[in-house]
């Protein structure tokens, strides 16, 4: 299964958000999208999902433009976690999880044992077993994020798109999430994650995409993308690049007196 953006440009009210971006995600790889605030990361994700119309170029799933797929068929293949989500009404964790199955069940079919099994295993995978009857308003930010990830997994997607999934998490939960993403990739999922954690992205991602001002500034393995000159320029702050145990490149932002 392959999701790609082919020369996508998007403008919001005359302001360019994406400029001729080409990108692809295949099953079995973890791709990290990084870049400064407002560089177009979320817009790229929304374009891949068909949530924003491209002014030129298009996004396609298995060669077919995403706009030509029904939302239900897309939801069966691609699961996504938008950055923010505030349910309008109080839900229990189990009710929130059921909603991950609606695209598979359609409007009429009733909830079957296979749905409950999918929900239970997704919750177990995200370490949230036992929380089924809790109201989501009683969960911590990290727990709610893990429930949302479990809901995405409950629909048995082939591709997973995450927009800053660790923004509300402490390092323990953040590491657990990245480890889980790696496990999912080993199971054959394709995962895209938008993150500000350059160093974790470098250690976990197969490929990285660096965006700035809506353009792709660098794309490739972490070593190819995280070069001191490029990163310094894009984030407008001098950085040095070292490596962790001789492997993944690690960014160290410099203090003023170190420059």
């Amino acid at each position: 299964m392959k999701l790609e953006a082919r020369g996508v440009s998007v403008a919001y009210g005359g302001k360019t958000a994406l400029d001729d971006v080409t990108f692809s995600l295949a099953s079995g790889e973890l791709v990290a999208i990084v870049g400064p605030n407002g560089s177009g990361k979320t817009t790229l994700l929304r374009a891949l999902l068909g949530l924003v119309a491209a002014d030129s170029g298009d996004a396609a799933l298995d060669g077919r433009p995403v706009g030509a797929w029904s939302r239900r068929a897309l939801a069966e293949s691609i699961a996504a976690l938008p950055q923010r989500e505030e349910p309008a009404f109080p839900l229990t964790v189990h009710e929130a999880m059921l909603m991950g199955r609606w695209s598979r069940l359609g409007p009429i079919a009733s909830v079957a044992e296979s749905d409950e099994l999918a929900i239970a295993s997704a919750l177990a995978r995200c370490d949230m077993t036992g929380f089924e009857q809790r109201g989501i308003e009683t969960l911590s930010g990290g727990e709610w994020q893990r429930v949302r990830l479990a809901r995405a997994l409950a629909s048995m997607p082939r591709l997973l798109l995450l927009d800053e999934p660790t923004a509300a998490l402490d390092i323990g939960h953040e590491m657990e999430l990245f480890e889980l993403l790696r496990e999912l990739v080993a199971d054959g999922l394709g995962v895209v994650v938008i993150t500000h954690q350059l160093n974790l992205a470098a250690r976990y991602a197969d490929r990285m995409v660096l965006l700035d001002g809506g353009r792709v500034m660098a794309q490739g393995t972490p070593e190819e993308v995280l070069r001191a000159d490029v990163v310094s320029k894009v984030f407008a702050w001098p950085v040095a690049v070292t490596s962790w145990k001789g492997g993944a490149p690690q960014i160290v932002p410099l203090r003023r007196n170190e420059q």
Binding site: L49, G50, R72, L74, I78, L91, T92, M99, G106, P107
Partner: protein
């Protein structure tokens, strides 16, 4: 001394937020929720609804004994058969259908707008439908289908106007602005409706208050028939959209990624709720607060998932309106209160209470 302050702050804050010491009232609601979110909720509601209908049949300008009602229903020649069969029974049936439809429309609009304050009356839909119906009557169209059609057109026009105003006011659709626009459009349509009612021949109408505050005084089997034909398709459509409504309540992007065609669903929900409101208003005038209070009260009991919420809301809304109508025709007997006055008198305090509880 910082550690002392921190200790003091913690001690101050812990009891209120600690799950180990919930207030007794909260514990009651949690237990009630656990008990009733099971499959028992619908049968309990159904029994309550049957009780409401029995009360609605027994009480009225002339109270009947249960025996008199039964014999009148069994035998067309019984002394009270005409009143029971042709006045009271269609009135109870119509009140049940109208109340249920308004409550379902309210629940659907609340999910659509992600706002528990949305309701056909507050959004100006009911006012638009009433204006449409009154125009149909004033220009002398035959009663029946044309009134329902004009009420539908009025409800859709009001919804379009409310939408336009709120889109102009804020660049993105803000539910709060939408509600304000709804209240304004509702007030405007009520003003035009009142003006039309004043300048036209008073004999055209059973009573002006029916259109402005609602009433089931015109009930007949014909009216029940017209209402049913208009109301059943949108009710079925909303039930079919129940899971899409669940997802819409999570927000547009989340709903879309979980498989909802947001724009198409939004259009269908708007048309369905406009039709339901129009059917209800054409039959019984403007009745507020049913669509506000009933879904709000029931979410805690049957849960927020619309596959079970919508049927429960229909039954409870029907029962509530039958009781409201019974009160309307008995409290000041032989005078009759507009039923919208009763639903507002009962609905506003309940809503204020629920609102406080949700905001706490």
């Amino acid at each position: 001394m910082a550690w002392l302050c921190r200790g003091a702050t913690n001690r101050w804050h812990t009891p209120a937020s600690s799950p180990a010491s919930p207030s007794r009232r909260r514990a009651f609601f949690v237990t009630a929720r656990r008990l009733t979110r099971s499959r028992a909720a619908l049968p309990i509601l159904a029994i309550a609804a049957i009780g409401a209908c029995v009360i609605g049949m027994l009480l009225g300008a002339v109270p009947f004994s249960p025996g008199a009602i039964l014999s009148a229903l069994r035998d067309a020649g019984a002394p009270d058969a005409a009143i029971v069969r042709d006045l009271r029974l269609p009135r109870v049936v119509l009140a049940f259908g109208v109340g249920g439809s308004l409550a379902v429309a309210g629940a659907a609009l609340q999910a659509l707008l992600r706002n528990p304050l949305a309701e056909p009356w507050l959004l100006g839909l009911s006012g638009g439908a009433a204006l449409g119906a009154v125009i149909a009557v004033v220009i002398g169209l035959p009663l029946g289908w044309s009134v329902a059609a004009c009420a539908t057109a009025g409800a859709l026009a009001a919804m379009a106007l409310v939408y336009r105003i709120s889109v102009v006011a804020g660049r993105r659709l803000d539910p709060r602005i939408l509600l304000l626009a709804g209240v304004v459009v509702g007030a405007f349509t009520a003003a035009v409706t009142s003006a039309l009612l004043v300048v036209t021949d008073p004999f055209t109408f059973h009573s002006a208050t029916i259109w402005l505050f609602g009433g089931f005084g015109r009930s007949s089997w014909d009216l029940v028939g017209h209402f049913t034909v208009v109301a059943v398709p949108p009710l079925a459509l909303l039930w079919w959209l129940a899971r899409a409504l669940d997802l819409l309540a999570l927000g547009d992007d989340t709903a879309a990624t979980l498989g909802v065609d947001v724009e198409r669903t939004r259009r269908l929900v708007i048309v369905a709720t406009s039709l339901l409101t129009a059917a209800s208003v054409a039959a019984a005038g403007v009745i507020g607060f049913v669509g506000l209070v009933v879904p709000h009260a029931l979410r805690g009991f049957v849960g927020p998932l619309h596959r079970s919420l919508l049927p429960a809301v229909f039954i409870a809304g029907g029962a509530f309106t039958v009781l409201a109508d019974t009160a309307a025709r008995t409290v000041l007997r032989p005078a009759e209160l507009p039923v919208g006055v009763v639903t507002a008198l009962v609905g506003v305090p309940i809503f204020a209470m629920l609102l406080r509880r949700t905001l706490r």
